[in-house]
Symmetry: D2
């Protein structure tokens, strides 16, 4: 899709203290300025003193204001009085999604396949990896591939090189089984959300080798978890999870094989939700509309 | 819960041709009259010329109008201009749910257990059956049990007796594995929605003995379907479905056993959604908020 | 089912070091003595030096030995040479299942109802509880109910009373949401397997209030786990698990409600598998045939 | 994996009238000739007069007979007396799997990717299609691609060309969303099993456009079905099925997108089971070990 083909649609994301009149104020403002609401979702943690979340998708075609005017007016008339944290996203400007990967191909390929098929509304400016294994796969999709090796004890250098590649070049970083732990410093500097896929049903089996740990504990179900990355390992806000049944017949290798299918599906759903501005983070949790 | 304990909450259900300004008009009206919106869901089959559906749950405590005034004003100011089909339900007035059953106890018991536990916001004025088997079970919950036998060739009589019991006494009839087909005449006269549980994944295996049919076809998954009853057998609007995996080890008896767990769960979820006014019917389909 | 109606079926459970010829030896022995094999399952952790598990179900009608002769001969001819841990169970002698419960009714009701339907091949000699709430429910199924209160600081006394009730009177104890932690001393003295249902997807959310913990972590899926009880809390061999999807709309109360349905289903499946001698424990894990 | 790396493992598949002594005879024969049983599954439709199915996987290393000797001896000593239909498959000789596809890439890509990962123990001699769209994708996996267009009214010609490509060149044909109906004549001549993926939960929504039909019926769950192809459209023995939940928000396009993930997973599981000789067909049903 070229940008001129993309729908002239905006998505308004709001978070504020819950009180009366929010929906009326927002919908009245949009209606008065000619925006046609296409979709609307809301959630309140508690109508009495809780926090209110809203996602409104609306068509821009009838709007009687420029984007700048619209955002200024909305801020003055609606957002400020209700103490809103808010942002407008425009579907005409798809997010730029950079992908980091190591050696496992399943999550990367699934994202690239889905992207090519039009399931993920994003551009993919680059794939970066600490190994060269997935260069040909990546380049066959016309996506640039960058090798950024991480030498022992020189992680800072690697992160600096990654930051050079990523800073200002993407709106989202996806860790598609990237087997390096990113430092808090990196996360701060990269300045965009980072989504990771962890190959367990968090909070069970935090850390390395979760399938082995699951096998040793003798669980009957394994899972995968997509979450925003924070400084604390495997503890960021969960976006999506899913599971599959295993039995005594399934050793760590079979779990790894079965788990691949869950990992790629869960990561794809989380990325899709993020790209469509359906995920709001509050504290260490998410609202997914 | 006595009626004075029930939340002072109303639910507004709307269906109308989609056009601009609906959300603004409804939310503005509620806000202007002091109603605090607790929850809101909407759906449009197509923002251009489609049909719009909405469910708004709001607190009545701050309302500056009586119920009658409120409904009159809403009709005049909002509903009529937008050509809405609409209704307000009040949580203080739980629906009266009559249950029809034959010999299988699992769906009946599950509804009665859930009702006693407070999961289903309804009263149960009566259970009626064409067999006496479940009298003791029903009465142990303090619910009146009526035997209405259906003699061969005299179904009309039985339906007349059922109508005497039900007409004006309930807001919903639940067929909890009631093994008689209700006539179109009965459905019209009873005048309230009727929810049935069919023991297959409709539209597969319409009619009698679906587990046997599923076994003979060699399916690997069986299911159950809760739907509103219409004159056409097993063809009414579907509210909820679920499935379970089976294997070559499972004959018709095992399928029947496994299926029981799906049937009771699916029926309970459908009934709960209906009681909370989450189901809107259009054509032969449902929107379930 | 009276004992004379029960199928004349035996189940042979075997665990031994894996090596060639086990299946041949067992099946040859059974065939030679006239037993008709109805079902057979086997599992090896590793054909080279691993452990071998087997469950064989066979009809006793053609057997040319008495039970005592059969068990003696099998031990001498097959079990000893292969260093087997083994046991024969007879379907004519259903297991006696005692149930401990506190205040939540859903697991207890489900077990008693399934037992009445004939889904669980066991007798239920008694239900014991530290609260009197579920007496009427229990007694309506014709099962004796015993109140064994646990006074603060006097848990030992309560366990002694429980042991008086249970010792020698049951082959299995089921904790159907029994909210007391049983001491290692109790577990040793009761001398039969104890199955517990934990209301989380173990090993996530060990300990008290797992739904609250799940809510706080923001998981998108909740679960329940049935396991044999060992001295280490929530760490015994897992028999069965299942899960359900939740969203940001589901607070701890909704999770508790949704979780009830998983708990009762998981516990019932685990108990059924145990009663049919389908579960073999090795180390801290299970093989479930 | 080169053929010399492949495990020296054979799989014996048996179907015969159920009677006493089958397991003993088979396992005794294998043991006597030095075969180490790795895995064994059995199923009986009815121990009294039913049909018995068995799959035994055993190591060939210790075998004291050549393949020819082994098959001859087994036939004489075991198979003939028990009236067995039987076959031995050798893991060293992976099946040759030809794939037919039209324009949708998801099933094809998933099979080729799984094959490359080593999940599917087969060779892929060729992909054939009635469109040229997936040539580059196929060839990037090093697999030959053949365009066999089907011109209107000249289907016979196309089938003849396909037969030229396939006859004697493959042990299995997989229809990975091949949108042409194969004639009974073709099925007979190709002489190997043909596995199709149908994009509905059969027997619901037989025929074309099942997602549109599912949308129109208002189902809450969609599915996919992998089955062996027979002359009767969408009616062959089912190997595997799976489902996903949909809601009123999901139109035919969303169902198609959600369905793609089910289709590729179901087809891959069915193909994997077939390649590992886990599927036995009887009548219009399957036993899947």
């Amino acid at each position: 899709m070229s940008s001129t083909d993309r729908p002239h649609v905006a998505r308004l994301l709001i978070s504020c203290p819950d009180k009366r009149g929010i929906v009326a104020a927002v919908s009245q403002f949009l209606y008065a300025h000619g925006a046609n609401i296409l979709d609307s979702d809301q959630h309140s943690t508690d109508p009495e003193g809780g926090r209110f979340f809203m996602r409104m998708e609306f068509h821009l075609d009838g709007l009687d204001l420029t984007r700048t005017q619209f955002e200024k007016a909305f801020g003055d008339v609606v957002a400020t009085p209700f103490e809103m944290t808010w942002r407008v996203w425009y579907a005409m400007e798809p997010k730029r999604m950079a992908i980091l990967v190591s050696k496992y191909d399943h999550c990367l390929l699934d994202l690239l396949w889905r992207h090519r098929r039009g399931e993920l509304d994003a551009t993919v400016p680059l794939v970066a990896s600490n190994h060269d294994d997935l260069r040909a796969d990546t380049e066959s999709f016309g996506v640039p591939f960058h090798l950024v090796t991480v030498e022992k004890g020189r992680k800072e250098e690697a992160e600096a090189r990654l930051l050079d590649l990523l800073a200002g070049q993407c709106d989202l970083v996806v860790l598609a089984r990237y087997m390096q732990i990113l430092s808090g410093d990196f996360l701060q500097k990269v300045g965009v959300p980072v989504i990771n896929i962890h190959h367990s049903f968090l909070p069970a089996f935090v850390g390395a080798n979760p399938y082995r740990a699951a096998f040793q504990r003798g669980v009957k179900i394994i899972g995968a978890t997509a979450h925003y990355v924070t400084e604390e390992l495997d503890a960021g806000p969960i976006i999506e999870q899913d599971v599959a049944r295993v039995s005594h017949n399934d050793g760590p290798d079979a779990m790894t094989r079965i788990g691949r299918d869950i990992e790629r599906a869960v990561l794809a759903r989380a990325v899709k939700a993020h790209l469509e501005d359906r995920v709001l983070v509050y504290g260490n949790k998410t609202v997914v509309f």
